[in-house]
Symmetry: C2
């Protein structure tokens, strides 16, 4: 597997564009499309929040009815189209139909996504009026993938893209591309047919709907579902994967090399979302090994990245090992408090924090201030937790809790 | 039931004292005792965190072995005595024995509690050396209850006390007194025989160990277990209830008037802890009605007070109703998103925020800024959530998320 350039349009036969329709008062891009020349087999996982945004309801319906005739994804950012009732569904459906007409696509071939403020309805006049501009942008020169990746952002400070190339067992070379957004209200719990982070993946591999859906669900569980910025599971979270088969060859949906490529793109995007968490100054990676079951490993890793107190300590570069132990203790994971070890583990460097359930001796007599200096320097803090209970492992991604997070969220709409 | 003065020593036969032993470098009081002239029937509920502080392990053991010979509670604040292994247990046991000797109490008659930094061991020399001073303070003049209530605090900005008087069905007048601490690492999940909030209740009512334990567990479930400052369930949370029977009369443990009195003291203390959450500027009360089951009601109420985004919006006095709906949606409570109502409901004033799953029309056209002004003025924001699914209800208590929370927790130990 090789990392390649191109993002969402790295796979053959995909195009993308992003324009400013005026949903965002700032004038930044807010309307985007990803399009395939060929019909795609598509899969999606959506938020498990019981309050589901209109595009989540519609997207799940469309995948249910015709997972094999999908041509693209139309995304509005700035407004979530959630808490908008039946009118919100009607709005989004009218927008999709207008876009399909404008772009010459079959009815029902576009998947919807929205992200932004919950409550307000889509400003239909502005968005529909911008569709011709979107069509022009698709045909025009320039990097549509980059514009699309920017047009799906809200409080994000940077675009998130990833793309890889992999060789399948039958020799076929396929590409997997992706883009994502997400900075706050990030603690996705995505499940098939029902997941505000948005992540869109494209591939030129061939696939069948059922296996592709199962593969996406499985790889989302170990990536986007292990991500937390603030513990709030959004009404709009959506991951879509579109496979247009342009690479030819055998079905890739049961090829380990394809699963590895999809995982790599999802993991890269999840890390980028965590690193760009609202107000974040540091990425926190928690790798748990030696858990009794995968569920235990995931629960333990998630509890540490989700702990408000661990996050605040990290912002202060404070090696407060008690808070890490506390989070592990309430995670629900089965563990022996007197056996667990925690360290900062980097290539060629391991700094013990907890040894057999006790603060590491090296933290005493000024050792704490050396760890504090290290924490200040790192912009990614990789914690390794060893439970010595079994063989299961998991990784979770999060970030620190800063003054800027409070500022952003105490006045998001003003 | 009448509120009365006196706090933890309002019931007959209880005394209290608090002194500075030097555990806290600030010189503030950090060693306290609550004592009964008569042996007490005692009950306790402890944190469900798998990493349990030494005093939690010891306290549960002592209640298990002799719930009827308890004379008091000895509390050290500044150090949690957690993550200290077998040595931490030995330290605490030695401290209890030394205190029992100094105060002329039978062995095993004191219950332990600690709160503070996780990791360091108890500074035994300083604490043991302060025991004679504690004995003198007990005998001395002045308000021992107030000194004890201050001596159990850590990052708290004020003492939490409550006391009531109730008349039982047989005519006996009993008193229930209480004190609590807690400001950060507050999301207790207390369970019998196994919460760092500390709450101690005393009563001069008569009681039997089993029924008293069940009553305490039940009343804790609807009070301290519905409290969240930051979602972190501590290694040290403990609620003790000591009944010395000095009021005489029949057993109070199955008398509804007694349960009501215990509930009133626990609820008052839980509200005081939420109001004094680290960095908090506002108390948030969420009352859910019309849930299908009590578990649904509690899950919904807890999700709203626990939402980082709701808490940050509250700090900014931002009527961000979408975040409330989002939290209800991921709470796990069964609900119909198109039927739920949310309002700020105060005596003689109800301000709708969500009506049948949609932002309240009154929020439009400048209505939002009126709600913002109201939120700015209120130091207690009472939200009422109506689910229209059934008849169950629950209340949860929390607070806003401020810059000060981040400041306190990015550098707690420095």
């Amino acid at each position: 597997m090789l990392r390649v350039a191109g993002g969402i349009t790295a796979p053959r036969g995909f195009h993308a564009a992003g324009v400013a329709s005026g949903v965002k008062r700032s004038g930044r891009a807010d309307l985007s499309v990803v399009l395939s020349d060929l019909p795609c087999v598509a899969a999606g996982v959506f938020t498990t929040n019981r309050v589901r945004a209109a595009p989540v309801v519609l997207g799940a319906q469309r995948l249910d009815r015709s997972p094999s005739g999908i041509r693209g994804i139309l995304t509005v950012s700035g407004v979530a189209n959630a808490l908008t009732g039946p009118e919100g569904i009607d709005d989004n459906l009218r927008l999709l139909t207008a876009a399909e007409t404008e772009l010459g696509l079959p009815e029902g071939s576009l998947l919807p996504a929205c992200t932004g403020v919950i409550g307000p309805r889509l400003p239909m006049d502005r968005v529909v009026a911008a569709l011709p501009q979107l069509k022009t942008a698709l045909a025009g020169a320039g990097d549509g993938a980059e514009r699309a990746a920017h047009a799906i952002l809200t409080t994000d400070t940077r675009a998130k893209v990833a793309s890889v190339r992999a060789r399948l067992s039958d020799g076929t070379v396929v590409r997997v591309g992706g883009m994502a957004k997400g900075s706050g209200m990030i603690a996705p719990r995505l499940a098939p047919v029902h997941a505000t982070t948005l992540a869109f993946l494209t591939t030129d591999a061939r696939a069948r709907p059922g296996p592709l859906g199962r593969l996406l669900a499985r790889e989302t569980d170990s990536t986007f579902n292990m991500l937390s910025v603030d513990g709030d599971t959004s009404t709009n979270d959506t991951v879509y994967l579109l496979a247009n088969g342009a690479a030819g060859g055998a079905n890739a949906d049961d090829d380990p090399a394809f699963a590895t490529a999809v995982h790599a793109v999802l993991e890269s995007l999840a890390r980028q979302v965590a690193r760009d968490g609202e107000g974040a100054t540091k990425l926190l990676t928690v790798h748990v090994v030696g858990a009794r079951t995968i569920e235990d490993a995931r629960a333990a890793a998630r509890a540490v990245v989700g702990s408000t107190l661990v996050k605040a300590a990290l912002f202060g570069a404070d090696p407060n090992v008690g808070r890490i132990a506390c989070a592990l203790g309430y995670s629900g994971a089965r563990l022996d408090p007197d056996r667990m070890d925690v360290s900062i583990t980097r290539p060629r460097q391991s700094v013990p924090l907890i040894v057999q359930g006790r603060p590491a001796p090296s933290l005493e007599n000024g050792g704490g201030s050396r760890v504090r200096d290290l924490l200040r320097q790192l912009d990614e803090v990789p914690l390794e937790v060893r439970l010595h209970e079994g063989r299961a492992s998991a990784t979770a991604w999060g970030c620190d809790l800063s003054y800027a997070y409070v500022q952003i969220n105490a006045a998001y709409r003003t």
